[in-house]
Symmetry: D2
Subunit: 355 residues, 4 copies
Amino acid sequence: MQVMRAAVAGASGYAGGEILRLLLGHPEVEIGALTAGSSAGTPLGALHPHLTPLADRVIEETAVEVLAGHDVVFLALPHGHSAALAAQLPESVAVIDCGADFRLRDEQGWTTFYDTPYAGSWAYGLPELPVGGGGRQREALAGTSHIAVPGCYPTAVSLALAPGYAAGLLSGEDVVVVAASGTSGAGKSLKAHLLGAEVMGAMSPYGVGGGHRHTPEIEQNLSTASGPGAAGVRVSFTPTLAPMPRGILATCTARLLDAASGTDAAGIRDAWAMAYADEPFVHLLPEGQWPSTASVLGSNCVHVQVTLDERVGRVVAVAAIDNLTKGTAGAAVQCMNLALGLPETTGLPMAGVAP
Amino acid sequence: MQVMRAAVAGASGYAGGEILRLLLGHPEVEIGALTAGSSAGTPLGALHPHLTPLADRVIEETAVEVLAGHDVVFLALPHGHSAALAAQLPESVAVIDCGADFRLRDEQGWTTFYDTPYAGSWAYGLPELPVGGGGRQREALAGTSHIAVPGCYPTAVSLALAPGYAAGLLSGEDVVVVAASGTSGAGKSLKAHLLGAEVMGAMSPYGVGGGHRHTPEIEQNLSTASGPGAAGVRVSFTPTLAPMPRGILATCTARLLDAASGTDAAGIRDAWAMAYADEPFVHLLPEGQWPSTASVLGSNCVHVQVTLDERVGRVVAVAAIDNLTKGTAGAAVQCMNLALGLPETTGLPMAGVAP
Amino acid sequence: MQVMRAAVAGASGYAGGEILRLLLGHPEVEIGALTAGSSAGTPLGALHPHLTPLADRVIEETAVEVLAGHDVVFLALPHGHSAALAAQLPESVAVIDCGADFRLRDEQGWTTFYDTPYAGSWAYGLPELPVGGGGRQREALAGTSHIAVPGCYPTAVSLALAPGYAAGLLSGEDVVVVAASGTSGAGKSLKAHLLGAEVMGAMSPYGVGGGHRHTPEIEQNLSTASGPGAAGVRVSFTPTLAPMPRGILATCTARLLDAASGTDAAGIRDAWAMAYADEPFVHLLPEGQWPSTASVLGSNCVHVQVTLDERVGRVVAVAAIDNLTKGTAGAAVQCMNLALGLPETTGLPMAGVAP
Amino acid sequence: MQVMRAAVAGASGYAGGEILRLLLGHPEVEIGALTAGSSAGTPLGALHPHLTPLADRVIEETAVEVLAGHDVVFLALPHGHSAALAAQLPESVAVIDCGADFRLRDEQGWTTFYDTPYAGSWAYGLPELPVGGGGRQREALAGTSHIAVPGCYPTAVSLALAPGYAAGLLSGEDVVVVAASGTSGAGKSLKAHLLGAEVMGAMSPYGVGGGHRHTPEIEQNLSTASGPGAAGVRVSFTPTLAPMPRGILATCTARLLDAASGTDAAGIRDAWAMAYADEPFVHLLPEGQWPSTASVLGSNCVHVQVTLDERVGRVVAVAAIDNLTKGTAGAAVQCMNLALGLPETTGLPMAGVAP
């Protein structure tokens, strides 16, 4: 097979760096142009010293002519920048957007949470998502060349809860999610509260009360899983910052639908087991073992566990991912594999780096 | 005033060590006997090297005759050990129990979650808890000599939510709490999953699905806050282990009662502000500022913030405490102050150690 | 006794915040004006949320007229700013400078390492430093009103090694020091390598090869300990950044002088034990127990241990301090106590916050 | 090419787990038997939840007959266990020992530091080590079937300093090394000082004064680099435990030989650059950039930097490795590649997982 050439726009950030780490281990892809804004001209080794084999590569200015001659272009840019760039790239180039720009199908959801104009939506790159009525989101990705990579929290939350919606077990009325993220989730922004001295020892919430931009994306995904006939899903979502570099732990609870009130913990578990039996990256842990972010560090796997709290009638589902791998760059490479017609798991690590 | 003498049974553990740290800064108390089980005979400096002024003090065997001649005895023992010991101490000795033995008023709540016989209940040492119908739990502590120190999670969760129950705003039907704790909360037990290499970088839940022993204590407190006429409170409680030595962040959500459905975020905030206006240790943060565990490290303060998520009709209240200070040892010293007739805040740090 | 009033210039930084934390626990001092530069007008609670009792105090602009009416003024400013400010304050005001401006007695040492003009030197605030020929640096501080607080690394390194110089045991020719510091040592500067995601999991050196500004201060102190007749001291000093918020661990080795080549490990230990027998804040650990930064968190104590590596003829001395407490703000308060004629230990915590 | 089968004895520990992580990404090796002692019968997923693809594999009892039928056997056992096991394996089996048993060529060095009988020595598996007089240790590994994997500290220290010895620049008389290690270096032993709550925020030394077992191995390697004519090397080695799961940062200083006293920093740098120009895993950073453990997490690379402190006449060389990858398991796989005649870099990650 011919080797594909990939460019990364936004190579200076954490998402860009993680895409490059994964592409270094990808057998079918050659790393082409690396571009960024203010750090153009800098050797990559000064920005990402962990990418030893690329230390001498120099960042170029992000520009269409630099990106155009590649088989695939990854966009790892702040939201609002992808649309213009994508529009100028030749149609033959597959484009994988790690930003939020093309994730939401509902314009109002976008305008409520974002401050740039709505750009439309692309195929949504969460292949494992069960779709209400049968099938997976994967099917919507076959043959696409433009894919919107999901947000990190939506990936964890959606995969934690979706089997319950696809199986018609969960009420969408009163979902409560509290998720903890490593601080790389905030990117490289130079803010005092992200300094190491502030972060270590600190757990704190942010965007409380419905303010986080990932809320409509979570609701969109759980509605997809519920299927067209079902009621919409409403989520109380509280993200928290945890004292670790990477990882998301999403603790998600939803009430059993009245129609499913006879279901017991084993029945719940069965629904999740069936949903993920054939998914290479989603791993339902053995009963009694709960996910830990440490176990998926650097891996594209999602660890999931679920139980029923019978006292209160709530299903509790927990997922752990690496926010930079399955939560961003791993998903992006997985989407690239689908867009380029490669086996979906090519080049993606399934083992975490632990302890 | 005459100096009081205090003994600590269970001085080798984290709770015992923190009681000693606080007593070292207490102007009215002299540290008497330090006792423990298997570490009797060891100098304290080998177990708690941070307690420099006590480095040469030697741990004695826990025994009634060693403890008896003190004004106050702190029990920092595994659950099930306090009742027998307390029964043998002279009545003149104030006893502050940091264990779970005497916290629950409901025998069934005890037997569902604990494996030792029910020992009854003592005055519950959460002075700041608003009591439904008016007043505070503080009033139940005046003149008492035997006090049960609250659990760490119940302290954070109860103080986060109680104002809403005392003010008749919140439904008790479907409370959802997800809390993160530093690993000192698990004590000094030598278990592989508590090793530093496993803990750093790891967020993981435990006791999921209603299994944590603090659940009935949380429900008891919120029912106390609701008052006698109100319906009971049911909590879906998921504790998680966070990669930090100390601290609890409790993210708590409850639905507005139908009767309160017209209340807006400002109204909610007012209820919390009124509840804690005169509480020295409970600090409602300015609007928009959310609690962080790092800000209460080593302090007896509780930082609280609350808002209303209007989209989903849930109040979200968050509290941060130091699990070893306000969550255990600070509360114990506060209770001791009340039991001995000292000003409640004597010797208790209000500033955290940060960054 | 009349309560003294203290002002803090530079209250927005980590050193300023730690001074305030300590003053909150000081029985003889009342906190007066808090000043800073760009954050003037901000409530302290937004900058130092851990200082709960001061949350509503508002930062003022740093200016002579704001600071003048106090008994003592702490300067916690970037180097180069103290001299001008101090010159304008009334002579009756005690001034404690936490910056580097007045630490070095040797102008050349200053100009080699700093980029602002040499401002002279003040009494050097390391009371415990043994002085060659007998006595302590404490004696030079009695009755002074202007004191230069030592740097954090020099405090740890000097107290680790000085007994050996004061006792005529160590060669000054080839001292090697490697020290690890928590990231608060770098202050609140917004630099990418200080972000939490970069810092956690990272040990890295900086200023390698003699470039760190604390080198001449370390050499000055060890020369002071050696006494006037002795040869100068030359130090190879490598600081490293460690993944923790606070703390310095200084590992210091020096060769035995030929004249002392018969000394064994017990003889070495005796010299250290004698040097610190009466020092309240310097604690020589029991034989075999080595210092840990975790044991001095938030405390003004220094933990020291020493041994002789007979195979290679080097003494290895290790000291642990909290860089913000004994390393900066605790030392500043200790100096203030001396300047104001208070007992030296007043208001200073001797127990660390652990675990 | 035919796929090789590898067994891992000691699969339950951190070294065993890391070998498995790397073998999962190795294109020429199939994972065979996994054995251990007390955890035989346990599914691997309960011990190493990060090794998702092997979660259902069950640990077997360590026994010759289980291990014999493989092309290569990795021994990741406590010291003293490898000799007996290795002696019973068929000669056709390549054996890669991660323990200390066969590292030291000098029996006295062994008996001074270890409590089990001396077992002899195998080919020493540090291919990159420059050998005095020319060549590399790699040459001694060609065609060998039994290889002793170096210790983690010796790998970092030896690669940091060896170029200076091979080039005849450094004195062996008075080397001083201070190294920091992540806590996985202490293995999974259940000791109180390794608990997460104790480790976070803690830097502390251990084995101070020449007591660490890696000392003779470091000296052996630097003597190898010096070559047969040179004087021996003596090292003052102080290891410290750092609050991170993985990583070693070794700060190493040695005096210039008198004969090399005219060499300047550029000359030093040239020697290191030449030594590692063709080494795939040893990366001399650009001038001014210093190694960080975070940059080599999970990677088999070594980051090195060196300078000359002209004031004191000492070369300061710093190396960062991942103690479990290049420090143990990565080196083991690299040795396996050599033993099996595969390209040396096969299956070994060169990019770290950061941030």
